[in-house]
Point group: C2
Chain length 356, copies 2
């Protein structure tokens, strides 16, 4: 493995060219004669020189401000505490390198809070932004201004391809629907009825939902299962009482449902409903939130699909870090693993990522 560390001085000695000139080719700063440039580039390549990040950071003395725009967690153990943790982990690791992060939280059900925060961010004029572009129109406006100022931004959790972020780090939502269908069909007979249950209040970006549903249906198509076995119910709330009422209503009319796919992180609500009424319907849901962990353990939820939330946050900040300090451009799309969580492996996911 790599033993000696090569420094600029080593390159200078090797090529008989001063460190200043070498610095110029590294940073593409100033003019350098073609032959020297070539010689230097070859030497860098041959000796496998990589600038010492510590020295670079120290000499630069520059701070990089990164603003993080994500939803508030209405209560702890909520979904968004996980990407947040990933960002914090990365932040701790990179803080000596001058990376300073600042969180801007918005209300998931209130675009105006989102807009307000984007304005605060623009006031600070940071070096980079991490955001969950959950409001399409507002995100578009925001991003436009970032672009004007040449501020790089990465999307997490959900993507808007047209907005051309530096990178998207999050799930392949369509595939997540596909997997949900596969998992659900492994616990119900595929000639039985399945329910896709959407719950939301306010105006979340519904394109994700339709993508998920498309993926789900796709599984049926590809496996020659009758798509009319799929029913869809949309409840305009996540309030327990309302959800229970709507579910009751629905189940009375549709007694033949044997499995439910809950398209948000509230699968535990459905599980609770089933348990309460001693209904034997299988459940597949999303996200490793506290209540779903409970649901898995109690058996009311069969599968949870988790989209590597902690890594999303970590990777997002890491992506900016690499851009700032190495000028390394990331790939445009970084799909995260879609973890299949069951009662038997859930603890490992919790524990492993909570030890920093």
């Amino acid at each position: 493995m790599q033993n000696k560390k090569i420094t600029i001085q080593d390159i200078a000695n090797y090529t008989n060219i001063s460190v200043g000139t070498i610095d110029r080719v590294i940073h593409k700063r100033g003019k350098v004669s073609p032959d020297k440039r070539k010689k230097i580039e070859e030497a860098i390549d041959k000796l496998n020189f990589n600038p010492n990040l510590l020295a670079r950071t120290l000499a630069l003395g520059k701070d990089f401000f990164v603003c993080v725009l994500i939803p508030t967690e209405t209560y702890p153990g909520q979904y968004w505490s996980l990407p947040k943790r990933g960002i914090e982990d990365a932040g701790a690791q990179f803080k000596d390198f001058g990376i300073i992060t600042k969180r801007y939280l918005f209300n998931l059900f209130d675009e105006s809070s989102f807009i307000a925060q984007t304005n605060s961010i623009l006031d600070l004029n940071p070096d980079g932004v991490i955001l969950a572009p959950l409001f399409t129109k507002e995100s578009s406006l925001f991003v436009e201004k970032l672009k004007e100022r040449n501020i790089p931004y990465v999307f997490i959790d959900s993507n808007i391809p047209e907005l051309d972020s530096l990178s998207y780090i999050g799930p392949d939502v369509k595939q997540s629907g596909f997997i949900a269908a596969r998992l659900l069909n492994s616990v119900i007979r595929s000639d039985k009825k399945a329910l896709i249950l959407n719950m939301f209040k306010g105006i979340e970006n519904s394109s994700a939902l339709s993508q998920i549903e498309a993926g789900f249906r796709n599984y049926y198509k590809e496996n020659g299962i009758n798509g009319s076995n799929i029913q869809v119910l949309t409840i305009n709330s996540t309030d327990k009482e309302i959800v229970f009422r709507e579910l009751t209503k629905f189940y009375i009319k549709n007694k033949e449902i044997t499995g439910v796919f809950v398209t948000n992180s509230e699968a535990h609500l459905v599980a609770e409903f089933h348990t309460l009424h001693e209904i034997n319907i299988r459940v597949v849901g999303f996200d490793l939130v506290k209540e779903n962990i409970g649901g898995l353990k109690l058996g009311g939820i069969d599968y949870v699909i988790s989209q590597s939330p902690v890594q999303q946050g970590y990777r997002a900040l890491q992506t900016l870090f690499k851009l700032f300090l190495y000028k390394e451009s990331p790939v445009k799309i970084q799909y995260v693993p879609l973890d299949i969580i069951i009662k038997e492996n859930v603890d490992f996911y919790i524990d492993f990522y909570s030890q920093t």
Copy 2:
């Protein structure tokens, strides 16, 4: 947010004492008069001074040698390339901090190669060791010497609790068997016969195998399934021809098998056998090696359980890094996630961890 970073010089200005003396109290080096010491300590406290880790590392110029003792990749397939990658990733990230890693590869089927490498490592007298303690007795001897010299060592992949490593980073093997049973029973009827298939040549640590089997049986017990549905076959080779022959022999005598759990990373062999002979038997196996990925995609393997191999390597080196530079002691056991891999999510695992 923290505004200004306080430096030693700031303390010097504030107290009207030279940086040399301040350095002395920070490092408890040399003599300092009580009144100055007090003044300095107060200033450090008041201004909340924290030494800049980058500058410190740079100035110290100290290297930390870490030896990595893992099997060569010749067999089983590519598995060990994954932990290796994790270590390399971490190595790249920490190299500027003076972490220097060196690999020592041993032959999985030859203890003497293991012993030889442990001797080389002892010759180098490193600051830390990462090892896969696959040979119990030899590892014990090695570790004893490390202990004498106060060299910290972390285990990956497989644990020997008695040997009291700094930390173990790897799977909960028993639980992995349990999960395998659950997954297999989700694709076969649990009143049907299942086969646990062990394959190995040479002297791998068989305690892992028996743990896995115990976990598998445990699932049956806990779920009230008749344990006599489980059969066990052990083949003393991973050679395709021999495996095929033994499988043929076994299947002829045991026609009622509907599912196989392969306890090493050679599930693809079994899948291939089934395909070749057009046998409809479901397969669950371990490890995301190339051939198993193929097996998943072709459908011959239903589930693969992957034990976060890349993270194992990464976390192992990270653990030593934190010990060296922050004097931070890790938790004794760091179980990694047991990922459930299916055809539909396999690509995400491959891609996400190959982009460094």
